[in-house]
Symmetry: C3
Subunit: 374 residues, 3 copies
């Protein structure tokens, strides 16, 4: 009944700063994986089960570039090969190795490929370069939510909820009135809201030095499979170019731990108050409040409702749709197609214009490049 995870896909495994020259375990689409950095600082990912007795390697010891299993002292290098057997004649069976995963470090994150290594093309990792661009001071974090990742995709691809779930912080009347546009290019989807000439949401207004007057507000969300989202969001005085306002890239990347739990990697790379360390704290606090104390309980309550009905996937209960669900439905249908043909390489999400495109506050600029769909 449960939908399988995409295997041939890049998943965000961790923010770069989370993995040090220490053993670090994280479970991704059900697989327990060991991460660590070698002496040259390169990060590696190998399956966490010692092939000898299936003891978790992360309980062991990192010795330079190799990890020693705590149980019997077998040592493995970053390719998963056993390189030392301390027992008897020290012979190492050819099969004594654990799976290594393609791992790329880009955009301030570690990206892991869970399927056939031959298909792992780093060029298909979606662009989150805002987090390594010195023009945008950036804060990041991770929140574990005990719900299926597609429930969170639904949340993010339909931001109409901010006026209700995040009322008094991120919501505004203009959002309800705003235009919503769904765009698709290959397997990339945009769910864009253009909310002109209204009072800014309270948190935004406050960061814009308590501006208090009407602004144009935009929220442009890009999605790539399985659940990698980048939000271009900001406000600017009504009718004025965005550079007279404040804006940011909001990263929302979801990595399933398993069917009912998800690692939610969030990031904020902002355009404004660039040398203001206090602003780092303000954004971190705002995100932790909104995502951690408002979205998380809602996602977990939805999951609890599905659990009580004995279903694992919202689609099974045939939810009643509204026009604003068009993007969430689009993403779910793309995922259904990709699940049916796993083994294929995902279309290249690096539309050369994308990074630039999401910087525009005017939806018309999209029209020549991506195809609006219903």
């Amino acid at each position: 009944m449960s939908k399988p995870f995409l295997k041939n896909a890049w998943y965000a495994a961790a923010w770069s700063y989370e993995v040090k020259k220490e053993l670090f375990e994280r479970t991704i689409i059900g697989e327990s994986i060991l991460f660590y950095r070698k002496e040259n600082n390169e990060a590696v990912a190998i399956n966490n089960a010692c092939p000898h007795r299936y003891s978790p390697l992360h309980l062991g010891t990192l010795m330079g570039d190799v990890v020693e299993c705590k149980y019997h002292g077998l040592r493995y290098d970053g390719t998963g090969r056993c390189v030392h057997n301390p027992h008897g004649d020290g012979r190492i069976p050819g099969k004594m190795c654990t799976k290594a995963y393609p791992l790329e470090e880009v955009h301030g994150m570690l990206w892991i490929w869970m399927g056939d290594p031959a298909l792992a093309d780093p060029a298909t990792i979606p662009d989150f370069s805002c987090h390594t661009n010195p023009d945008y001071p950036s804060v990041q974090g991770m929140i574990e939510m005990h719900g299926n990742y597609e429930l969170i995709t639904d949340n993010l691809m339909d931001l109409s909820h901010v006026e209700f779930l995040h009322k008094g912080i991120l919501g505004s009347d203009a959002i309800k009135r705003g235009e919503h546009e769904l765009l698709q290019d290959g397997t990339s989807v945009w769910s864009n809201r253009w909310c002109p000439d209204g009072l800014a949401p309270p948190a935004w207004d406050h960061m814009f030095k308590d501006y208090g007057k009407p602004v144009d507000h935009w929220l442009y969300m890009r999605w790539d499979a399985p659940a990698h989202m980048l939000l271009d969001v900001g406000i600017t005085p009504t009718g004025r170019p965005r550079d007279e306002g404040i804006w940011m890239y909001g990263t929302d990347i979801l990595t399933p731990k398993n069917e009912t739990s998800t690692y939610y990697y969030w990031g904020v790379a902002r355009s404004h108050d660039k040398n203001d360390a206090e602003m780092d704290k303000i954004w971190t606090g705002a995100i932790e409040t909104a995502f951690g104390t408002q979205d998380k309980p809602m996602i977990e309550a939805q999951q609890g409702m599905l659990d009580s009905l004995g279903v694992t996937d919202l689609d099974e209960v045939e939810p009643v749709l509204l026009p604003m669900d068009s993007a969430t439905v689009r993403c779910r249908r793309i995922m259904d197609k990709l699940r049916g043909q796993d083994g294929v390489t995902l279309p290249d999400p690096r539309n050369p214009a994308l990074t630039d495109l999401v910087r525009k506050a005017n939806a018309e600029e999209y029209s020549g490049r991506v195809v609006p769909v219903v």
Copy 2:
């Protein structure tokens, strides 16, 4: 393996005082249900899942007679119909509604019909009018027990256990010696104990002003499907009419939360010390001790034993029966029949003579009206 719940039946959803002009959730036979009172004080019950995204409505806000979902602000009235969509053009799809349940407020309780609304006849709600009769001061409460409701029916329809499980409080030697009679009328069952001329159980004796001399003790339990019980119980000096003693109606209504957890609604409507608020506290304390600290651990221990054996129903392990189990077996067999023919209307439990009948201390008075069975 697990027996299905009766759907076409009234269940006690809550004591009236539990539901206010606030959102209130309770799960009944596995369905999460939202209760609240409208401005005219009428209570309503609708399915707690917002049909849009299956978020629990009880997390939202009550606005007069309608509830606003916390996630996207859709509003529903007490019939489950969506009456407001704040997004876009505000159109409301015809299917955007959640199930409404027939709900009756009678005998100080809210009664919910879980099956086909066309079959919901309020006249078939069993009589617990003692709780709204000013002649009987009444206290009530609810205890959740983590066991299947039929284990608790077994407990109540065979009160031989009071001498052991409630030793020193509700038990007496006379109960072991007493006569037990099983009666049935339609799908109503009586399990009656007549225990003449013995010392009263300690708790009873104490409430009878430390009487200390022999009494006639009666415990007449009425059952209606699925698990609605009323106990007529009291003591009177041996050979004297009941009005020279003290007695009460004890309500024991079981509503399954799910297969392994039950809401136990208890009530005491007493004949004695009518204007004595202290007596309210004494009875509340006695019930909470007996049901909450003696019955509840036993029910949960039985459930644990069945869990350890991998069975969900006591019948599966073929328990060895004693004569005193005749009433519990009768109730289980009636339930088996009703399960087989759900969709039929239950026989009307309102035997016109019942309320009067359970006030008699003499079992012979039953003979003309109900049929003794073995």
Copy 3:
């Protein structure tokens, strides 16, 4: 997918001192069992479910030689027969009895036979007489580990792990260099390590009055199905007879509570410091540290890894083997055979020479009596 437990086998139910003239419950291979001692001090074991309502008998009261159920006061004797029904005419149905289990008290333990009583031969209980032999002061204990018992068998039949998991306490370089020998006689298996002429493990060296010079170290482990192990272990100055050193019998008996939890009965019967009560504490502390804080977390981490993979048995994931796994594999294969033919009597593990044999520090002495196998 899960392998069945052996039924026709003796299991250690408890150390003798654990069972008193009180009701004591323990779950063994999934069955909840009641233990108590009769007035003549004889221990008995009966199924803990009262056949009337499946209430757990251990919640009741021990009255001399019989137990009274807390729920309805039925009483059972140590054969499981109902001997008193306090209700009505007091008649006791012939079927009103709970299963009694053959129970033997020997070697300081209670041994229970879980299968056909006709096949229960006390002579087949393996020899752990060291614990009742006044020549060997003995301490015992029990640690519950939340892992399958065969994972712990693997641990014990391959002591190569002591150098890693118990580093700084029980490990030594000599253990890695030592000889390993696998022997089998019937269904008894020995996994013997002979580690001559090296520094003793720190804990051993300390107990040998901080000897500091090279010793011969031996670890001879005997196994009987399902999971009964006795370790003959000690050190002696290199080349000298064992009586110039210190040594002990280490008991390691595993009784499955269920598929994922195990009672680990440990014992130490030592040759040295016979009248030194302080040494009891030192050994108890060493075992509780090594088994409770080093082995237990590892076993539970292995179980967690198997759980995350959705398997219940390590064999399902085809672990990669090393020569030192020969004994663990041998035990697992014997268990597979015994599972296939449950109902047969286990071969008699009482090889008359065994008790004597494990006292030898020289592996050659085995050669004439047991058959080395690969």
